[in-house]
Each structure stands twice: as structure tokens, then as C-alpha cells.
């Protein structure tokens, strides 16, 4: 199965995430869309890892594991981000009782 199937799949997921960020107003949903983007990237990494392990696995034994470990770390990062992000969203909700990002326009110009 050609790798570009995976590329297109994850590109599609990524794009959907981007569109979600663009069109949704709820901070939570926007954030979830960003998570989707991260996942798309992760999927791509794993796909490439597989691709590399087949193509050059003999000469570069670490090529495949590298990517998977990277995905592992990206999940770590995502987790950290989620904790902080949700805290900020909650803080915001506490103050203005809304999670609408368009509500945030005190700072402009």
C-alpha cells in the first residue's frame, strides 16, 4: 500500500483540524481541533516510520523507532498542553462565563 495513502489521510485530518480552528468559536472545540491536528501529524510520523523501516531498516535500524519515540514525546507534550490549556480555559470561563473566542476582543489594534 503506497505511503501517500497515509499522507493524504493525515493531511485530510490535519486540514479538518485547521478548518475546525477557523470556523468554531468555542475555545474547547478549537482546542480539540488542535488535538486532531497533532494526531494527524503523529499518524504521519508513524506511517513514515514504517516506510523507513522497510526501505532502509537494514542500514538504519533506529530509523523506525526514532519516529515512534517522537510520537511518544509528542503525546507527552500534548498532555502537558492539555493540562495548561484547560486550566486557562477554566480560568477564562470563571471570569467571563463564556468560552467563546470571539468574546475576547478587549485587546486589539
Amino acid at each position: 500500500m503506497p505511503v501517500y495513502y497515509y499522507i493524504f489521510l493525515s493531511a485530510t485530518l490535519f486540514t479538518i483540524g485547521v478548518i475546525g480552528v477557523l470556523v468554531r468559536r468555542s475555545a474547547i472545540i478549537v482546542f480539540m481541533c488542535i488535538e486532531l491536528m497533532l494526531n494527524a501529524a503523529n499518524l504521519l510520523l508513524v506511517a513514515f516510520s514504517k516506510m523507513h523501516s522497510q526501505a532502509i531498516g537494514a542500514t538504519h535500524p533506529t530509523a523506525a523507532t526514532d519516529a515512534q519515540i517522537f510520537v511518544f514525546f509528542s503525546m507527552v507534550v500534548a498532555a502537558a498542553e492539555v493540562s495548561v490549556g484547560l486550566a486557562i480555559i477554566v480560568l477564562m470561563y470563571r471570569n467571563v462565563h463564556s468560552v467563546d473566542v470571539n468574546f475576547l476582543n478587549r485587546l486589539k489594534n
Binding site: 485547521v18 477557523l22 473566542v101 470571539n102 478587549r106 485587546l107
Partner: protein
């Protein structure tokens, strides 16, 4: 020989010293001391000039190099004096007439405060210094220094009574008009430097053959432009009548005897150039003649005594240029000399009259002064006869020489020239008659105070009258007496080269006699006519009409200049100030600033505060970058 060069620098230097002493010490010096310093330095210069004059009679030319004025390798201009026949003759005229006028001034200006009195003499000395520099200069640059210097002094002296704004305007006008001429002079000098690399007379004249005829024509035309400014020729003559605003001795010295002849001196000095440029000569002759006629016509209808004399000066200068134009260099220089005598005399006489009348200059309010001021009257009459060209007074010889040369060049020039001479006779005697004959038309107050002027005033008048009468005798034409033209012989080394080129064309004796007779007869008729008409002049306020009115208003030349040149220049200045400067150039500069400000205000709105918009714009940015990177 070297003696001359050792003392030559003293001639201008002494007046300079006089200027400095009087100028710096004007608050300390008493009037008599200033007068003595002022006159004494000139007298000393005059004596030195006589010595110099006598030394150059042998036909030698001396050039003294004092120091380098400008020496940059590429251009070398020395502070040089050249002493030869032409310059020594002018030295005599300047210092001689100058001394007389200084003496005259000690009395004439006696009403001024000591401060102003000293200032006056300082200016006058400065003028003499500049004029001497002009004639002594060994190259065109030194000549130009004097040239502008005399213009400056003229400016200072015209505006001497600076409370009166009209006087100041007249002074300014004189300076600016002179400057226009000076520009021409300068351009000619630049041209010379560009082509020959030098401005020294002798080098220039020796290398004249290296110049193309186009160069020579242009150079001489430009020099002539300079001369029209200084010597009040068309189109730059209008300053001279206005310059009468200055004290009368100033008018006599600067605006009659010396400074205005600088142009003639300059052309005579560069005669070889002009001789090689026939086109220029034609132009000079025509301009000179036109000026002579134009000024004469205007003089016919003027009522201000000094104005009449001023226009007469312009007219006489025109004659001199006519002489230069037709190649009669000696005649022109001769006329300069005789003119210096009788015109200085006339001005000083007019000054005496004005002095007696406490500043009244309108001839319509004079009359009958013969009774009160006999010396003034007689000397003035002699001056009038001299200028009218009645033999054997000096004016006759010099004017006749010019007219004769004009005739041999082109009879038409002669005809017009004689016409001018007739007019000259007419207006001079109109002036004389209105002033001295008939009844006094001024106020009783004035009449009560009428008296002959003091000795300091009459003494110069007498001397000058003598000179005006006999001055012509050094230039008796060939027809009367062989070898009678001693001036021509004296100046021969100066004009030798030009003579060679021109060749000699002698008029037959009979023609010459006829020419003389014609002009004398014409002048005599005019004198009688004037006498008849104005002997019993009555003051009237009736306005002139027709051509007379045009003449009274000087052909409206000032008005024409104002509307054709002055106003447009001012308007252009205004246009530049208000439209170009403020609107366009400043507008662009400020416009950039405003555009930045405006852009700032608009671009700022991009920062809408909406995360959605931000991300959208970012995505657009991403898209653009991708497209550029991947597909371009």
C-alpha cells in the same frame, strides 16, 4: 621705470587709507579733519598720477605683480597693476576731477553731522580707490574688483540719505542693474579663462588669434553687456537717472565723470578684441546711438535739473559707445575726458544752485538766478556751450571726432548722431534758460536766502570751467592743425594693433568741414530756439499731452520693465513659494509622513482582536508561502 611700479600701488592705496581713517574714526574726527583727510589723500594720488603720467609718455607699458591673488596651478591670477597711457590718462581724470569734487563736497555737505560727514568722505574715498583699482588692474579680474567696487560705492552714496525710501530703492536699482551687467562681464571673463587660461591683458591680447571668431564675438558681446550696465546704456540705463538721489557731488563724480565711463575704459582697454569682432562693433554702435537719441528725447521734457543732466549723461555716454562701435577709440576716450570736465562742471553748478535753493531741484521753480550767483552762472553757461558742441569748446572737438568716424562708417549713423547733438543743445539751453534767466519763481523765503556759494564750491567750478573750455585743444583734428591731435599720439601704443586691422580711411577735408558745420549750425539753431521758448517760462501745472507726455514719463520704460521683468519674477517667486515649495515638494515630503500615519491607522485594524481572524490570516499566509515555495 621701476619707480613707477613702486609708487603705482600708492595711488589707490592712499584713498583706501583715507577711507579707513574716515570710516573707522567717523565718531571721533571733526568735520574739517575728515575733509582734509578725504581731499588730501586724493590730492596726493593726483600728484602721483601726474608723475606716472609723465613717465609713460615715452610709450612704455609697465606691469607690476604684487602678489598672487588666486594661484591654483590651473588658474593663476595675480594682483597686478598695469600702468600705461590709457590707465594713466584715466588716473589723471579720476584723481583730478575727484579732488575737485572732494573739495567741493567739504562745503556742500557741511550741514551733515560730523559722523555722516566722515562717512561721506569715507565712501567717496572708497569710490576713488575702487575706480583706481579698475583702471590700474593688470587683468580682467582686478578690473572686475574695481568694477564691482565702484558699483558698491555708487550704491552706498546714492542711498546716503537712507531715511528716504525712494533713495534706497534707487540705490538698490542701481546696484541690481549693475549686477546684471556684471554678470555679462563675469561670463566673458570665464570664457576667456576657459579658452586662454588667463585674464592678463597682455597675454590675452597677444593670444587673441587663438580664439575663433565666434568666441571673440561672444566674449565681446558679454563684455559689452557689462559695459551697458556700468555705463548706463540700453537696456540697463534706467538706474542712472534714479541715481540722482545721491548728493550732487556724488552725481558729478560717479554718475557723470568717472564711474559711468568705466565701460568705455574697458572697451578701449580691450580694443583689440572688439576690433576683431565686427558684429559686436555694429551692435555697440547701434546701441550707443539709440541710447544717445532715446536719452536726449527724454531729457527734452524733464523738469528736475539733475534728471536733465542725468539723461544728458546717458546720451553722451551713448556717443562714446557710438565712437567705440565705429572704431574711434581715441575719440571715445577723448570724449570721456572732455565729458568729465563739462559734465562735472554742470553737475557741480547744478549742485551749487540746489545748495543755494536749499534742496530745490525743480527747474520750474527756479529762474533768474543769474543775478544772484554770477560765478555759478558763468561757469554753467560755459559748460552748456561745451556740451552743445560749439567750437572751440572742448565738447566740439571730441563729439565731432566721433561723428566724423561715424560718418565714415555709415552716414546714417552720422545723421542720427547730429540729430541727437541738436537735441542736446536744445535741452541744455532749456535747462540754462529756465534756471538762470527770467524771473525767480520760487518762494520768497528761498529768494531771501539766495546767495553765491562759498569758495570751496566756486573754486572747483572755475577750474572745471577752464578745463571745459580748453580741454579740447589737446585733440585738435588733423584738418585744422597737423599734429594737433596730441591725445591720439599719446594713446597710439594702446590702439596700435586695432589701427592695423582697421586700416585708415581718411575723409576728405571738405567733407569734414561740412560735417562740422552741419552739426554746429544745427546746435546753434537749437540753442536759439530754446532761448526763445524758455526765456520767459511761466510755471504752470498744465499737464503735457501726446508725445510730450510720453517723453516726460521717460517712454514709460520703467513701467515696462516693471511689468515685463520685475512683476513676473516676483510672481514666479510667489508661485515657487506657495505652490511648488509648499504644495509639491513639501507636500511630497509631508505626504510620505502622512501616508505612513494613514497606513498605520489602517493596518492597525488588521489586529482585530479576534482569534478567528488571526488564524484565518495566518492560514492565508501559509497558503501563500506554500504556493510560492512549491509552484513558483
Amino acid at each position: 621705470m621701476n619707480n613707477i611700479l613702486h609708487i603705482a600701488w600708492l595711488i589707490p592705496f592712499l584713498p583706501l587709507v583715507g577711507f579707513l581713517v574716515n570710516g573707522l574714526g567717523r565718531n571721533q574726527l571733526s568735520k574739517s579733519i575728515s575733509g582734509i583727510i578725504g581731499s588730501g589723500t586724493i590730492l596726493a594720488s593726483f600728484l602721483l598720477s601726474v608723475y606716472v603720467f609723465l613717465s609713460v609718455k615715452d610709450g612704455n607699458t609697465h606691469v607690476a605683480h604684487y602678489f598672487d591673488f588666486i594661484n591654483t596651478g590651473a588658474l593663476k591670477i595675480g594682483f597686478d597693476f598695469q600702468v600705461d597711457q590709457l590707465s594713466s590718462l584715466f588716473l589723471l581724470i579720476i584723481t583730478g576731477v575727484g579732488f575737485l569734487i572732494h573739495v567741493y563736497s567739504t562745503s556742500y555737505m557741511h550741514d551733515e553731522t560730523p559722523n555722516n560727514f566722515a562717512k561721506y568722505f569715507a565712501y567717496l574715498n572708497l569710490f576713488v580707490f575702487s575706480m583706481l583699482l579698475l583702471v590700474l588692474g593688470g587683468n580682467y579680474v582686478i578690473m572686475f574688483i574695481g568694477w564691482e567696487g565702484v558699483g558698491l560705492c555708487s550704491y552706498l552714496l546714492i542711498g546716503f540719505w537712507f531715511k528716504n525710501d525712494n533713495y534706497n530703492s534707487a540705490a538698490k536699482k542701481a546696484f541690481v542693474m549693475n549686477r546684471i551687467g556684471d554678470l555679462g562681464f563675469l561670463l566673458a571673463v570665464f570664457w576667456l579663462i576657459t579658452k586662454l587660461g588667463t585674464t592678463d591683458y597682455h597675454t590675452v591680447f597677444q593670444n587673441v588669434s587663438q580664439l575663433t571668431s565666434f568666441d571673440i564675438t561672444c566674449i565681446t558681446l558679454l563684455l559689452f553687456v557689462g559695459a551697458t550696465g556700468k555705463s548706463a546704456q540700453i537696456p540697463l540705463y534706467t538706474w542712472l537717472p534714479d541715481a540722482m538721489a545721491g548728493p550732487t557731488p556724488v552725481s558729478a563724480l560717479i554718475h557723470a565723470a568717472t564711474m559711468v565711463t568705466a565701460g568705455i575704459y574697458m572697451i578701449a582697454r580691450s580694443n583689440i578684441l572688439f576690433t576683431m569682432a565686427p558684429t559686436t562693433q555694429t551692435v555697440i554702435a547701434i546701441i550707443g546711438l539709440a541710447t544717445a537719441i532715446l536719452a536726449a528725447t527724454i531729457a527734452l521734457k524733464q523738469n528736475d535739473i539733475k534728471k536733465v543732466l542725468a539723461y544728458s549723461t546717458v546720451s553722451q555716454l551713448g556717443y562714446m559707445f557710438l565712437g567705440l562701435g565705429v572704431g574711434a577709440y581715441t575719440g571715445a576716450v577723448f570724449h570721456v575726458m572732455t565729458h568729465a570736465f563739462f559734465k562735472a562742471l554742470l553737475f557741480l553748478g547744478a549742485g551749487s544752485v540746489i545748495h543755494a535753493l536749499h534742496g530745490e531741484q525743480d527747474m520750474r521753480k527756479m529762474g533768474g538766478l543769474k543775478k544772484y550767483m554770477s560765478i555759478t552762472h558763468i561757469t554753467f553757461l560755459l559748460g552748456c556751450i561745451a556740451i552743445a558742441g560749439i567750437p572751440p569748446f572742448s565738447g566740439f572737438f571730441s563729439k565731432d571726432e566721433i561723428l566724423a568716424a561715424a560718418f565714415s562708417s555709415n552716414p546714417v549713423l552720422w545723421v542720427i548722431g547730429v540729430l541727437g547733438a541738436v537735441m542736446t543743445a536744445f535741452y541744455m539751453f532749456r535747462l540754462y534758460t529756465m534756471t538762470f534767466l527770467g524771473n525767480f519763481r520760487g518762494t520768497d523765503e528761498q529768494q531771501h536766502h539766495l546767495h553765491e556759494s562759498p569758495g570751496a564750491i566756486t573754486f572747483p567750478l572755475i577750474i572745471l570751467a577752464v578745463l571745459a573750455v580748453i580741454g579740447g585743444l589737446i585733440g585738435i583734428p588733423e584738418v585744422f592743425m597737423h599734429g594737433g591731435h596730441r591725445l591720439e599720439a599719446f594713446l597710439e601704443p594702446i590702439f596700435r594693433e586695432s589701427k592695423k586691422i582697421q586700416g585708415t580711411h581718411h575723409l576728405s577735408h571738405s567733407t569734414e568741414y561740412f560735417l562740422m558745420a552741419a552739426s554746429v549750425v544745427g546746435a546753434s539753431i537749437a540753442i536759439i530756439f530754446a532761448w526763445k521758448n524758455y526765456k520767459d517760462y511761466r510755471y504752470s501745472t498744465e499737464e503735457n499731452t501726446g508725445i510730450a507726455r510720453v517723453l516726460e514719463n521717460k517712454w514709460y520704460v520703467d513701467e515696462i520693465y516693471s511689468s515685463v521683468i520685475v512683476q513676473p519674477v516676483r510672481a514666479l517667486g510667489g508661485f515657487f513659494t506657495n505652490v511648488v515649495e509648499r504644495g509639491i515638494i513639501d507636500g511630497i515630503v509631508n505626504g510620505v509622513g502622512r501616508a505612513v500615519n494613514y497606513g498605520s491607522r489602517q493596518i492597525r485594524l488588521l489586529q482585530s482582536g479576534q482569534v478567528g481572524t488571526y488564524v484565518l490570516l495566518m492560514v492565508f499566509g501559509i497558503l501563500i508561502l506554500f504556493v510560492i515555495q512549491l509552484f513558483l
